[in-house]
Amino acid sequence: MQVITRLFKVAAPVVLFLIFITACEDPGGVGSDFLDSEGKLETRTLPVQSLDPVQSSAYSGNLSFMALGEVDDPLFGRYRSVGLIKPAIDTTSIGSDVTGEIPFQLRLVFSGAVYGDTLTSATFEIYRAEDVWRGNELKFEESQPFDSAEKVGEFTVNQNETVEVDLSQTWREEFEAYLSNQEVDRDSTYREEFPGLAIVPADGTEKMLFAVMQSSSSDADNLDQTRFVRTPPEDSGEEEEDEDPRQFLPPLDWGYVGERDPAGQADPESIHLLSTLHSFGELETGLTSEEVENRNLVHVQLVVNVNRQSLEANLPDHFNRPAVNQLQLHRVNSDRVGDWIFSRQPDFVALYDEETDSYRFNITSHVRDLLYDAPRPGTFYMTAQSMNGVLFTIPLYNDQASDDDRRPRIVITSVNSDES
């Protein structure tokens, strides 16, 4: 046992030393000058092959916002938008007994976005639409006639305040006929026969407003979005004093149609992105794995600059355009580009960088696919903000811009693995 005893005497200093050294680890910053970290990072800038304008048709029904009005933008052209809307025949809250003279109103809630002259008011006239339309299939360029002989209502919006418009008795009775219909095919009959209302900007209107159609809550009595309102007389005596006697009907279907004429100014250095898809960008990066050179990517950004000079040179007094906070990049693998963009989430989103007046897409994943596998098939298309019903417009410098620093470009940051 002597050897065992002696061997175990060794244990104490060994274990103590081990505890001592394991308790004191602190890598610290010593030896940092051995690393040439800045020398390892490489940045290369490659111009994109092309960013060309293309156009398509955009769906304009059942979006979050309904564009109403007329605006003449010297840069992007004259837009005129007629709203289409019809109420739901929802009897759960109002019942099917709709006899009596109960006022019926359209309550329009507008977003803060205003496109056009901020000092003038906008007047709209409401007419009975002549043809039946379907919001899900509605496109901006479609022609939807309305019966201008009989005005259903009229209203003026000074800024973007909420308005409640009385609708004519004739139209109300036509609608109530569907509402009180007890037949089993009531809903389908209503959809197939009732054309709803057209909200038409009156002559002299010089701005476009955007009615809020969908918000966080879809409850019928959500007053943050556009509703139809019935206000029964308060003599029933059944309601409590504090209860709102009004009955709300959400819109069943909505959308907007219109025209763009003239199309605005063409600028050889710019490409215009319009959320109506009258103009958006087709991007050819021209990137190949050979051009990327370094496979150890950190970050790859596609940078596009706002043509601020063009934007401001064509900005009339008291004129406002909805801010474009982001651009979207879609990898489209279809001939029906507009449908693809409308129906799918974008592949990349670039937020506006105020400091550099640019948008920067992080397309690292695309370049990784290119380097290590193959990119998804398709072509890149660039659009402004989102297709939510608000009219977004932005001019970007294109690949013909005289200033190299403003042309669309791809900036590749990578690590040189051959450096220590």
């Binding site: 050897v3 002696r6 061997l7 394991t22 680890e25 030896g31 940092s32 150890n296 690590v415 693995s417």
Partner: protein, 432 residues
């Protein structure tokens, strides 16, 4: 007997268990200087007298393996084995920066088997040659198309060059012995790189760099001995060992996990023009020592080591290769064996003591500055008594740095523990 064997086995496994604990820690690191090229060269101290801080090229011990000189494998009658563990704590300063780093590793596994007792011996072993364990970090900034981005760069290195050795020692006569060993070198240098950027779009990125390669090397040893030279009963010994330069054919991989087509894949990050292959050339090494044993209680040693790192090659980084310079290490030490006095009965007389000092000119030229190391050593040997096995413990404290205060200064505390087995696990010589 069974209990004893069990205890010894547990003790033999103890360093391995410690090592396993160490591997779980991600930050066990060594000197920042080991970042350069293929790492810092290691010195295997004498298995039975690590307190001298010397390799033991001229030191013969019948019960302990000798790793420094193949000629000594033919001398001695016992089968011998050794397992060594090295633990090191290092405090480094550079300007206002400070760091504390730890390193542990199994340093040596070696067996010497006498094919013909006291004439021809075979040695097989596994030992480290260099270690490149470090953790470095550096802050910086860059501009990427008008975007100013700050980052933190971290590089953690592990690995080094190891050798598996087999060789023979032959004792020609009572004064001369020679030896030869073939070494199969294999290098594995792993570096983990990480960048963290303050711009969220850049995020963070990591990648692993691995250099692997092998090579075949040779070494030769010579041992000379003469007794009764100055006084009756004294003993003089000289040892020589030479490692020939050895080339290792290396390949380099840089890989990481990346999201490709929405799948997390291990991808090769080296491009067509990147460096994928290279060479490490270990330098010529010459080691000689002189041992004087004036009495059975005292042994004096002196050693001189030359490593021609100036001619070493590391083709992956020309700038790092240029930092290598010839290394010279000189040291002296003594052993004291009070237990050999049969009349000594005190507690402290049961141990073997050793001490030494060494001066190392280093193998690096960093920005024109040489990095010297001065080390003080002390050790204790615990003998088993009836058996020939022992445990050797060596402490050392070193100061490494350059005259230029801008360079890294390191204060090193280390502990080496070697389990020497000579009679428990092997058949004793027939005529003992």
């Amino acid at each position: 007997m069974i209990y004893r064997l069990l205890s010894i086995t547990v003790w033999a496994l103890f360093p391995a268990l410690l090592m396993a604990q160490g591997e779980e820690r991600q930050n066990h690191t060594g000197s920042a200087y080991s970042h350069v090229a293929f790492g810092e060269p290691l010195d295997l101290y004498a298995a039975g007298a690590s307190g001298t801080g010397l390799r033991g090229v001229s030191s013969f011990d019948n019960y302990v393996v000798n790793s420094a000189n193949p000629a000594l494998w033919g001398v001695g009658a016992y089968s011998r084995g050794a397992l060594s563990l090295d633990m090191q704590h290092l405090n480094a300063t550079q300007g206002v920066n400070q760091s504390a780093r730890n390193r542990y590793m199994i340093e040596r596994f070696q067996l010497i088997l006498p094919i013909q007792r006291n004439r021809l011996g075979l040695s097989v072993g596994f030992m480290p040659v260099t270690r490149s364990n470090f953790s470095l970090e550096n802050e910086g900034s860059m501009t990427s198309d008008q975007l100013d981005v700050e980052f933190l760069n971290q590089v953690e290195g592990t690995g080094g060059v190891n050798r598996a050795e087999a060789g023979l020692g032959y004792r020609i006569n009572s004064n001369i012995a020679v030896g030869y060993a073939m070494n199969y070198y294999f290098a594995s240098l792993n570096r983990y790189h990480r960048f963290d950027f303050d711009n969220a779009a850049f995020g963070s990125m990591t990648y692993d760099e691995q250099l692997t390669g092998t090579g075949l090397g040779h070494r030769f040893g010579l041992f000379l001995r003469r007794g009764d030279l100055l006084n009756e009963g004294d003993d003089w010994a000289a040892g020589f060992n030479i490692f020939l330069p050895t080339e290792l054919d290396m390949s380099r991989d840089v890989e990481s996990y990346r999201l490709v087509r929405n799948q997390n894949q291990r991808v090769d990050l080296l491009g067509d023009s990147s460096v994928r292959n290279g060479t490490i050339e270990l330098p010529l090494e010459f080691n000689m020592g002189l041992t004087y044993t004036p009495s059975r209680y005292f042994v004096l040693h002196a050693e001189w080591l030359e490593q021609k790192f100036g001619s070493a090659r590391y083709t992956f980084q020309a700038s790092q290769e240029q930092m290598l310079r010839n290394r010279r290490r000189m040291g002296g030490g003594f052993e004291f064996h009070p237990y050999r006095n049969d009349e000594a009965g005190g507690f402290f007389s049961r141990f073997k003591y050793s001490a030494g000092a060494s001066k190392d000119t280093g193998y690096l030229n960093v920005g024109g500055d040489t990095v010297d190391t001065v080390t003080l050593h002390a050790g204790l040997g615990i003998l088993s008594g009836r058996t020939a096995s022992s445990v050797d413990i060596g402490f050392y404290m070193g100061f490494r740095g350059a005259e230029n205060s801008q360079q890294v200064d390191e204060r090193i505390w280390g502990l080496k523990v070697t389990l020497n087995l000579a009679e428990i696990m092997f058949v004793p010589p027939m005529f003992q």
